[in-house]
Symmetry: C2
Subunit: 304 residues, 2 copies
């Protein structure tokens, strides 16, 4: 058994110091030096039974809790600076699992070049809930969801579908891609694909004033795991369009000016997967030219 206080004192050493931290873990709140005139803020939880299963490795749970938030920063074109971590642990959560969870959080923070500066720990008779808050800054302009226009092409930074077969715990947030896209004048809108391509695309199009889109079925990049677990090509495509938790960036761009050469984008990301239309609605254009109206299916929490 360890007391909450002894545990908190240990965390200060565990997460380490960083430039810009005036007061770190162990006081009522952290005090940090701002990296820019603006701050970019987001906060997403991961909940046992919803975002991961009880048996999933704790280090990967910690990693996902951080990276879900870093992916949101990436989608704004922001870089990460600070993290806060709220742990609500089951009463019987083993010390060893807790340490693995913390190691996962720390390694994801390091990979994202940010530092855990505070948070809280509580125990209860319920499932594990890890809530991470990320604070970042914009090195340039913000990538918003609302800037898409008819005639823009659609792009994603990586393959889609079958995330449940491991990717949802192991994805790398596209921080470099986001910051790079924010420097490209042609890019008009961007967002993180978390709830499924069709549903997130519909959200982006609605935020951009009620536009529509055509997707080229043959151009959608499909994750190998989605193909492997699919009954056929159509089923694999369906997974790519609706599974969610891909945590790639979806963005729209004008035909001109072209994106700069080089940079962190995968080669395939420069190939459009479709285009934005003035007419609302989502259409899938098959290789044989057949057009199919599709619903914005994906993952949504249902509220009463």
């Amino acid at each position: 058994m360890a007391s909450e206080r002894a545990f908190t004192r240990g965390l200060r050493r565990f997460f380490g110091a960083a430039r810009g931290v005036t007061i770190g873990i162990g006081d009522d709140a952290a005090v940090v030096r701002n990296a820019a005139a603006n701050a970019v803020l987001c906060c997403d939880p991961v909940v046992e039974g919803v975002h991961f299963r009880r048996g999933d490795p704790p280090d990967l749970v910690g990693r996902k809790a951080v990276n879900r938030n870093l992916s949101d920063l990436a989608a704004m074109g922001a870089l990460a600076d600070w993290l806060l971590v709220s742990l609500v642990l089951p009463k019987d959560y083993p010390a060893r699992s807790r340490q693995r969870l913390l190691r996962g959080i720390r390694s994801a923070a390091r990979a994202g070049r940010c530092t855990v500066v505070g948070g809280d720990v509580a125990t209860h008779r319920g499932p594990l809930v890890v809530t991470v808050t990320a604070v970042g800054h914009l090195p340039g302009r913000a990538l918003v969801r609302s800037g898409a226009r008819a005639g823009d092409t659609l792009h994603v930074t990586g393959p889609l579908g079958g995330s449940l077969h491991g990717h949802h715990l192991r994805f790398r947030p596209a921080l470099r891609e986001g910051a790079w896209l924010a420097r490209q004048r042609a890019v008009t809108a961007a967002m993180d694909v978390s709830d499924g391509l069709l549903l997130d695309l519909a959200t982006l199009l609605l935020a951009s004033g009620g536009l529509g889109a055509e997707l080229d079925a043959a151009a959608i990049p499909i994750r190998a795991a989605a193909r492997r677990h699919a009954r056929n090509a159509a089923d694999a495509l369906r997974h790519a369009l609706g599974d969610g938790e891909d945590h790639v960036l979806l963005w729209t761009q004008r035909p001109r000016p072209r994106l700069a050469p080089g940079g962190p984008l995968a080669a395939t990301a420069r190939t459009p997967i479709g285009r934005v239309t003035a007419r609302p609605g989502l259409w899938l254009v098959h290789a044989d030219g057949r057009r199919e109206r599709v619903a914005p299916a994906g993952f949504e929490h249902r509220l009463r």
Copy 2:
């Protein structure tokens, strides 16, 4: 039934606009203008069955979720700017309760002069968890836990004990008091009393290099509810010393210079409740001069 997306769109209007918000609720992350060169960050959850009971009014639960964090900012001498709210709702949580919860969050934010700019909502088969992140700034210096010195006097901004009889849901964070104390040169350390006076005092003394303290039993301000529910005076004092969730500020100060006249402090707050000693350990000094060694009892989550 409402979809998560429709709900999120409604929140933007519900929480309203504020100066300094470049991108508010509804994008991947919020973008805000920083109020100062520093930021003060904290994040605490409230969990059903731990921090409130299932039957507690949802508006008071929302209020507590915000004010727990604002009290942490207050203890640093910070002012609040932005809030993020992560809601993990039971699957059957009624729409009406959710609205009351949100109204409680909004009214506490307004009272604290800050704005909800983002967050997340998820549902699960478990208890309600509301995690608020507060982002503020320091108008002056930071009040830390580590600055107390032997010979300093001890003070609290308000009465202690019996918080469970309603105060824990209804307290007002001492933001004005904290910012005012941070301007007083005599003040050496401060902290939020959340886990019980003795336990929090022990934490402050440890952070200040392993000091001790004597508390004057007759000087401890006791909340009326603690007296009302106590068997006798000794029992009421015990509640004041250890119940926790008082969310008053505990601070230490040198004898000179005196605190400025006026300001937001209650008159009683200027009367010391004890003093810091070089010798470690906590002592209670009774009205008859009897000295009693006391353990730093209070509320701690036990971790395995």
